[in-house]
């Protein structure tokens, strides 16, 4: 399988200039019994971008995706997907999707399952061979679906999503149930699919997958979008990490210099909520005070840190 990287700059250029491919306004879904799965969600995905959807289990990600595909009707709000109402033939013709675990007919081969999909979409059988090749299943296409491994089933799901060569590709947890090798392969596949002009909505628990692939990220919690932006946006201005001795005196120096609210300490490490560009100023001040500085660096929060922080905050 080839290992291309995402042409992020090209996609970003399209994203900033492109029209909205997904637009949802005030979308909510309440299931029977009163469970509020999605609460007044606004969502915009631009043409050509890879958008990551993050959230803990039950946050409403899959419900949102099902609404965008017309599988579920929203209780309120409105959305357009690829310029048409969700689930309409005009919208679905431009959207490929894999929602949760792929589901196909057990008694058919992988290839015949795709032939079935191709007939529904009125596509040629040649296209089936192309997508099987694309996901690396060409050699096993004639085997029955129920004999496929989990990884092969996931690949077949992606192949079905690609059949229409869609402008918008929606992948819901494409790495679910895969072993580490399968996760790596799926990540490479998703990277490749995000290459070029295609818009991708990727819903995943795997933060590394989202971090490496997505242009923008939306975080959902309890049905509400609690954050959205590029990874840099979500990381924010960051801060500084300082390790210096002796602890008590260093703390007093930092508080005197920056104020109580900007200084926190965990496990002997000081976290300073200030512009990392002030590192030189901090280093000089501590040196002049006779402190021994063993570490001073900009704080780089991982997506995992951000995710846990956001979802904890909104609980």
């Amino acid at each position: 399988m080839p290992n291309p990287t995402i042409n992020a700059s090209r996609r970003k250029a399209q994203a900033t200039s492109g029209a909205l491919l997904v637009e949802a306004r005030g979308v909510s879904k309440t299931y029977r019994g009163g469970t509020l799965a999605v609460d007044n969600l606004d969502l915009e995905i631009k043409h050509g971008e890879v958008y990551g959807f993050l959230g803990p289990n039950g946050a409403g990600k899959t419900t949102t995706i099902r609404m965008l595909l017309g599988l579920i009707r929203p209780t309120s709000g409105a959305a357009t997907v690829a310029g048409a109402s969700p689930g309409s033939p005009g919208s679905l013709a431009r959207v490929g999707s894999m929602v949760e675990a792929p589901a196909f007919y057990d008694n058919l081969s992988g290839r015949d399952n795709l032939h079935y999909c191709a007939r529904l979409c009125r596509l040629s059988d040649q296209r089936v061979d192309e997508v099987l090749e694309e996901v690396g299943l060409a050699a096993r296409g004639g085997h029955r679906y129920n004999a496929y491994s989990m990884g092969m089933k996931q690949r077949l799901g992606v192949a079905a999503a690609l059949l229409k060569d869609p402008e918008l590709l929606i992948l819901d947890e494409p790495s679910n149930g895969l072993d580490p090798q399968g996760i790596v392969e799926m990540r490479e596949l998703v990277r490749r699919l995000g290459h070029g002009n295609r818009t991708v909505l990727l819903c995943s628990h795997l933060l590394a997958e989202v971090e490496h692939v997505c242009d923008r990220i939306g975080v959902l919690q309890n049905g509400r979008k609690v954050a959205e932006g590029t990874l840099a946006d979500l990381r924010g201005a960051g801060g500084l990490i300082v390790r210096a001795q002796p602890d008590k005196e260093v703390r007093a120096d930092l508080v005197r210099l920056l104020g109580e609210e900007a200084v926190s300490e965990r496990d002997g490490v000081f976290h300073l909520a200030i512009d990392p560009a002030r590192a030189g100023e901090i280093a000089t001040a501590l040196a002049q005070a006779g402190r021994v500085v063993t570490e001073l660096r900009a704080e780089q929060r991982s997506l995992e840190d951000i995710f846990l922080e956001l979802t904890e905050e909104s609980k």
Partner: protein
């Protein structure tokens, strides 16, 4: 229209490769041969050898006559009359085709390919209609073959019904199986469980309607309601091909109209529910 054609082609591809659908067809043929013809042959054999008291040669001759080519249409269609097992086979087929997506959770895959839900389901319905047409032709052919062999064996008349009657009988079998298959499709759409749909459908076709009708017949003021039941109209339509013609509760024309109305109702309910329901 082309969306429906695409859906039909997809569904037909799936049906062609589904062993259960063709096994069901073979079961139907076997039931016709064994329960319609084999049963009578066995009875004739036992009664003739024992020369049972109370069984006259004319009774045995009448039994043989039912097997001859001139009567093969009514004999074969008996499989689809009242509590006929042909109806049970049709219910199972409707449940299998329309219920596969509930048991395999493939509905989300099917409904996100592109065609509208309506087109997808109409494509399925057309595939079922084609399968049932093949079943109906095979059933009539099996009945004709059995009658030809048994007629020759018993030295009976080799007069065959006219081609128009044969076509009418084939269409009758098709309509009756279509009705019950639509019933199965409606039930599995409502309950989203194949086992429940098959159970309720078969229990209704072989038991519940008969019980309700027997109660209605005892209440003279409600007797006319019998004319509105699918099983009773199906039996009336089948009876119009045999010696009981004219004695049925309704005529064949009214029976045909009622059956088509029920078929449309069952399909409309199945489509309406599937069209509106969330796929979770």
């Amino acid at each position: 229209m082309s969306a429906i054609t695409g859906c039909f082609r997809g569904e037909w591809l799936r049906a062609r490769q589904s062993p259960s659908i063709w096994i069901l067809g073979v079961v139907l043929m076997a039931l016709i041969l064994v329960l319609v013809y084999g049963d009578v042959v066995l009875a004739i054999s036992v009664l003739s050898s024992k020369a049972s008291a109370g069984v006259s040669p004319s009774d045995i001759a009448a039994m043989k006559a039912a097997l001859y080519p001139s009567r093969f249409l009514s004999s074969t269609l008996a499989a689809f009359s009242g509590i006929g097992y042909g109806n049970a086979v049709a219910i199972i087929l409707g449940v299998l085709v329309f219920g596969a997506d509930y048991s395999a959770s493939t509905q989300k895959m099917v409904f996100t390919q592109g065609p509208s839900r309506w087109a997808t389901l109409v494509g399925k319905a057309l595939a079922v209609a084609l399968i049932l047409l093949i079943y109906a032709i095979a059933a009539i052919a099996a009945g004709a073959a059995a009658s030809a062999v048994l007629g020759a064996a018993y030295g009976g008349s080799s007069d065959w019904p006219g081609i128009g009657d044969i076509i009418k009988a084939g269409l009758t079998a098709w309509l009756l199986m279509g009705l019950w298959a639509a019933g199965g499709a409606m039930l599995v759409t409502l309950f989203r469980q194949t086992a429940v749909a098959v159970g309720i459908g078969i229990v209704y076709s072989i038991g519940i309607e008969g019980l309700v009708l027997s109660i209605l017949r005892k209440v003279s003021s409600l007797g006319d309601l019998e004319r509105g039941f699918p099983g009773a109209n199906g039996s009336a339509l089948v009876d119009s091909f045999g010696p009981k013609a004219g004695s049925a509760v309704v005529g064949p024309d009214q029976a045909t109209v009622v059956l088509i109305a029920f078929l449309i109702l069952f399909v409309a309910v199945a489509l309406g529910v599937a069209q509106r329901r969330d796929v979770t």
